[in-house]
């Protein structure tokens, strides 16, 4: 499902002294089945934007079309949202019951719900024996997985992830992102990632949208966005480590390393290739 965003604007507390413009005139098209990232500093309007993509807030102006539909009551369950710290929304007695909440709201049969719960637990890597445990007795990382499974069990065609890895340890961060990426590939699920973590955006996203003070200031492939070091600084952002290091190496190298080294792995390979090809 293609997502078309046109002239999207949102004002908080319109008509009071507290009025604040959270989002101004954002246009963007997200192709069906793509993996995109929204980046920007705190208060740049990222969360407001995804709330409107998910149909949870009505824009002050402009609209969001998902697969050509702008009536969100017809899109129930087709756009899944994992909010920041989703483990704070757990409420059921057992892990399985919590994951089943979404599918049950979709009116599926008990049999189908059970199947989906098991499937979603597999997707996020939760061992089966946790199904009957209370979600409140799990570790933080496991609680996060339960909450994400609760969204995935609705089998959304579009998955919105708002800072999904915040507060996880590095290994947990990587594992979660890899799992989401695999799901994206296998189910051709559109993924919209909102992140502070430039590494994540550079590694997984095909396209990146940069928001600054509620406005869209740049959009493009990570390679192009993350080579604009000066602009990034102005927006309160920083390129990931690999392109930054490559940039500094290139000041001393002739010929320079190839463009578009977004991840540490890419950079490592390029440097190794250079090392092996050096004149003896």
């Amino acid at each position: 499902m293609e997502i078309v965003i046109q002239g999207l604007t949102y004002r908080y507390m319109a008509g009071t002294p507290y009025e604040r413009c959270a989002l101004a005139d954002v246009d963007w098209t997200i192709p069906s089945g793509s993996f995109v990232a929204i980046i920007g500093g705190t208060g740049s309007g990222k969360t407001t934007l995804i709330q409107m993509i998910a149909g949870l807030m009505t824009p002050t102006r402009g609209h969001v079309l998902i697969g050509g539909i702008d009536d969100f009551s017809r899109l129930r369950g087709r756009v899944g949202v994992v909010f920041q710290y989703p483990e704070h929304q757990l409420f059921e007695e057992t892990v399985a019951k919590d994951i089943a909440y979404g599918p049950l709201n979709l009116g599926l049969s008990q049999e189908e719900v059970n199947y989906r719960v098991e499937q979603a637990m597999g997707w996020v890597g939760l061992p089966r024996e946790l199904a009957s445990r209370s979600p409140f007795h799990l570790s933080g990382g496991q609680m996060r997985r339960v909450a994400i499974a609760g969204v995935l069990s609705m089998q959304p065609e579009v998955l919105v992830l708002d800072e999904p890895t915040a507060g996880l340890d590095p290994a947990g961060q990587r594992e979660l992102m890899e799992r989401m990426y695999t799901l994206h590939r296998e189910r051709s699920m559109t993924v919209i990632l909102v992140s502070h973590n430039m590494e994540e955006a550079a590694t997984y996203a095909e396209r990146v949208l940069v928001l600054y003070q509620g406005r869209k200031v740049a959009e493009g492939q990570p390679v192009d966005i993350f080579s604009r070091h000066r602009s990034l600084k102005e927006w309160g952002l920083e390129a990931p480590e690999a392109p930054r290091l490559a940039d500094r190496l290139n000041r001393r190298l002739d010929p320079p390393l190839p463009d578009g080294l977004m991840t540490v792995d890419d950079l490592e390979e390029a440097i190794l290739a250079r090392w092996e090809g050096r004149p003896r």
Binding site: M13, T16, Q51, L56, M57, F83, N105
Partner: protein
Amino acid sequence: MSRLNHPVIGQYIPADSFLHRLDPRAKLVFVFVFMMIVFLAKNAAGYSLLVGVALSGVLLSRIPLPMILRGIKPVLYLIILTALLHLGMTRGGDVWWELGPITVYEQGVVQATVISLRFLILVLMGTLLTLTTSPMELTDGLERLLCPLTRVGVPAQDLALMMSIALRFIPTLWEEMDKIMMAQRARGADFDSGHLLRRVKSYIPVLIPLFISAFRRAEELALAMEARGYRGGKGRTRIRELRWKKEDTILLVVLAVLSISLWWLRG
């Protein structure tokens, strides 16, 4: 859809007006006594006096009328309902109007007017107090007013602290609830349809996470306060000192004059 779009009833509106500058103690005493003497008014003269005071309050607050009305709006339905009940139920005097089983008597109209007027004045004064006094000032004022009671064992300082923490966390919890509702809505929760029991039940997935987060916040706050050396109210100095000014004395004189006039008009 977002709750953040609607200012909470009676939320403080910063401005620089006569009412804003008054000492919170004076305002608290005034509103407290005023709410009791409202019931002294028994005739048109008494009510005109009360309405006059309320309207001068509105003028002195320099808060735009629509904003005050917005604060009163939720209570307005209650007032209308009470007025309607009085219209239909109170008997006495001449019959003014008859429609099927409903008969409206003269006394009904009088009662409905008096009750709604009284109600309106009470709510208006309460709203004015909270609109022109920040929660901090309110608790400071209350603490000072309760101070004499510490001698008979009322923990005035602790009470004031509890109150300011409660007030401080209303918007936070409100926001939190908004977030949780949004998340559950994204999981297909429906808070607006079905019969009453079902609707109440639909809030369980909101209330449980909300309570858990409230407890977590409370624990964290207690820890943070202890870490910063809070050991109860004893010996604490304050950063904002309350200052009793000439205007505050004038306010209390007005209050006294008002009470005596109402007592006198009553006869």
